[in-house]
């Protein structure tokens, strides 16, 4: 069953903490959310996670895997970043991890991080283009 959760995280920053401006970021977030909801309708797409510092949208078919896939996409961003730094790969466009059955495409646009989960047979190349539009 399809599970769609839109989590709005509001934080009460400490007086000494820097205040995060969300005005412009939210428009990018909304635009990405619209692109992802289009991508979500494609055959073979299992779901996606879109998050930034203040908001998150999780749309995954398998509810019980939400935690597992959230941890995985987070790990992909973190570890790939370290590898990329070590090999001097500048301006990361996309990260793709293919498993035996499923693959995940991760992209980072500013503070917005995307993880799209899909069957191995799904075509991911144009999704990158669509998101970068």
């Amino acid at each position: 069953m399809k599970q769609k959760t839109h989590v709005e995280i509001s934080t009460e920053p400490l007086e000494s903490a820097p205040v995060i401006s969300v005005g412009e970021d939210n428009s990018v977030f909304s635009s990405l959310a619209a692109s992802l909801s289009e991508i979500r309708k494609l055959n073979g797409v299992i779901g996606y996670i879109l998050r930034n510092n203040t908001s998150a949208i999780i749309d995954l078919t398998e509810q019980e895997k939400i935690t597992e896939w959230a941890i995985l996409s987070s790990q992909i961003f973190e570890s790939s970043n370290e590898i990329a730094n070590q090999f001097h790969l500048a301006d990361i466009e996309s990260l793709l991890v293919e498993g035996k059955y499923v693959k995940v495409l991760c992209m980072s646009l500013g503070d917005n991080k995307i993880g799209i989960f899909m069957e191995k047979t799904a075509t991911h190349a144009w999704m990158i283009k669509r998101i970068l539009l």
């Binding site: 019980e64 790939s80 990329a84 090999f87 790969l89 996309s94």
Partner: protein
Amino acid sequence: MTEAYSNPFQALLNEFKTLSPETSNALIFKNNGEPVANTQATTEDQTKTLIANFGNIALQSQALGGVECLTIQAADSQLNITVIGNLYLATVSSRAANQEIIKSLTQVVVPTVARLVDQLASSPLKNQPQQTLQINTSDSEETVLPLEEEKPNIEPIPEPQPPFEAFLPKTPVNQFMVEKIGGLLVQADIVRIDNEIIAKWSDLYDGKQITMVNIEALDGKKTTCKFRAIKEAKANAKGIIQLPEKILQTLQTEKGKLVMVKPVIE
């Protein structure tokens, strides 16, 4: 790991520079994290970072069925890690590089060499020089047995199986949330695991009987113990491991914490 094993890979990677000049780095490592060969341009730090971070991704990738390929695409260059049997090949190349050549190298040449090296490694007798049979030709009157009877009885060496079929699948590591189990009938050294995961392990290892699991807490404390399926067929048993008090103490963990569990394959 012997030089005889790593040398063919090293020789092959050395040729990458000629065959695909746009490939700046190449590295081969085993699925246990042991480096096998790398191009000169690849530093020790790069090797360590790549293997450690790839390992971290692989550890979390059970939901995908393990990692078969990782691609990091940057503006001008890309890094690719692909699985080849029990090895991984990592390459860093320009995006302007001829992709056909890179594909030929990574998907045909290296896997072929890996297959050959594995075949040679699994049939060492074939590599040994043939023993020469010396016949005593003294003039003594000793009875000399016919040559045929002196031939050692050499059993034919069976053809090695293709190495990729011989490997057991990579041991899956599953992440579970801890629940405490107690009561008079609960055995202190047996944990209970989500039945679905046990069925997956059984499928993965073709019905091979698995009786023990390794459990690792997030702070690195480990233990090995027997396991059984969670009795209740409730929906919220998914991703749950029930631990008795004794094992909770050994792992220094508690209800609600995460642990990594993998089956012990003998």
